[in-house]
Symmetry: C2
Subunit: 283 residues, 2 copies
């Protein structure tokens, strides 16, 4: 495989994340192209200088120009995309993605992919609460974690190139996890927290309370403003792991509720002290 700095990079799907990849990589001097659904998106990306060229059509003569292809579409859409158009890829091309779930995607794609191209999962832990190319900016990657999730089907060379791509984006820490370890981590740190925030936000009509709200409630519900199409898909693609994490939380929440019901001060205090110690690891 070519050195990364000689690679042409295709972004498939110019939303917030795809557009931000384009911004970061173009500003590093890469030749970045794009395929996306709407011509207006291509026009905007060209106007803002995010890409060098782009197309709304999926054509072999365009796709085969690229050494690296980044899929920044909803998981079920890009899995189908790869299946349908895999004949178009340049031999030796490296495919990667930006998706927040891995186990349910990576093996499936690697299973059906032709032998002379490689797919390797990646997940930049970055984003914004808004969606769409209008909000795209390479700045979101600054200092962010970039996680590569290789399997035994991936070559050392591809893993290395994928890590370099993360560095080129400007990510602060480049890490490697198995797809399973990634999904457990994301199920706990990200998906469970979103489930909690949404449940808290809908469990009471709290509009009349907004005048009284301090930081606690605002902090816990910041992520309750959520893209329902994307997150419902991500939850189901990580269903078993997410349900396990939800149960872990429920066990402790119910334990605390039991302490309160039974006036068990020492039980409560012990849990709060553990909580205080553990929170200290995150400061």
């Amino acid at each position: 495989m070519k050195p990364l700095n000689e690679c042409r990079i295709l972004i498939v799907g110019l939303g917030l994340m795809g557009g931000s990849y384009a911004d970061a990589l173009t500003s590093k001097g890469f030749e970045v192209g794009a395929i996306t659904r709407k011509q207006s998106t291509i026009d905007l990306a060209l106007e803002r200088g995010l890409i060098r060229h782009g197309s709304t059509e999926i054509k072999k003569e365009y796709v085969e120009k690229f050494d690296i292809i980044v899929f920044a579409l909803y998981p079920h859409i890009f899995t189908e995309w790869i299946e349908k158009y895999q004949d178009y890829f340049k031999p030796g091309a490296l495919l990667t993605d930006v998706t927040g779930v891995k186990g349910s995607i990576v093996y499936k794609i690697q299973e059906m992919l032709r032998g002379d191209v490689e797919f390797i999962g990646a997940h930049p832990m970055a984003g914004r609460e808004m969606s769409g190319i209008e909000y795209a900016t390479g700045d979101i990657f600054k200092g962010a974690n970039y996680i590569v999730t290789p399997t035994e089907k991936n070559s050392e060379e591809a893993i290395e190139t994928c890590k370099e791509l993360g560095k080129a984006l400007g990510c602060g820490k480049i890490r490697t996890l198995t797809p399973g370890a990634h999904d457990e981590m994301i199920g706990f740190l990200s998906q469970l927290t979103h489930c909690i925030a949404v449940s808290l936000m809908v469990c009471k009509d709290s509009r009349h309370l907004s005048d009284y709200t301090g930081d606690s409630f605002r902090d816990l519900t910041r992520i309750a403003r959520i893209n329902d199409e994307m997150w419902s898909e991500l939850f189901l693609l990580n269903k078993e792991e997410l349900l396990r994490q939800m149960d872990l939380f429920l066990d402790k929440f119910n334990e605390l509720k039991g302490f309160i019901e039974n006036d068990d001060v020492s039980g409560m205090r012990e849990m709060m002290r553990l909580s205080t110690i553990r929170r200290g690891y995150f400061d």
Copy 2:
């Protein structure tokens, strides 16, 4: 009753909150005294100019000097304090507090209090994660809500004076709620959120995940660093209301879990859309 600006104010308990009251009121020109357990605390408060005078002993000749007495002690301690020393109060004195629960305290104190002094509950919605007079500062009240919780036993004059005290502290919004409405609000916005944060923090040994943590997990667990002695007491003093709020949350969390278990995309998306709308009221 005298106009507020002619009142001498006694703070009982110079911790974070009592010290912050002292700081705010002294800097507004009030004559502020204090009773607290340790001489070193009095010394520090005098040195920093937070109070004009203070005592570690509870003596009639000191207590009876004051027109307004603010109790900034743990609830069970100051309830006993008032019961034991109520003969010391100056006739016509106004007693108030800073506690985050009301129903379980206010009626009990008003019931046992002599007829020529008045207790009126108040709750400045302000604080810091640290405790102790070392961290005290009047700045915490800037823009904060100050809630007065009068009952039918309170005179219009006392309610007005208590509101003026909130303004003198520098609070942004002065509001009146019944003790019951206050406790429902605080059970939901503050106590439930702390229960959630603590449960999330202890449900998994997440130390190895701290490298991957983004804003979501940090935001949801910021308040998991918690004063176990104070919060366990506050939880039990608002037990029925808090358990009701916990059940509201559990209902929705379990509903969402059911949607995930049953691959019910439309159920999930509907809940997320409601969540997004409601979060909008808080921006």
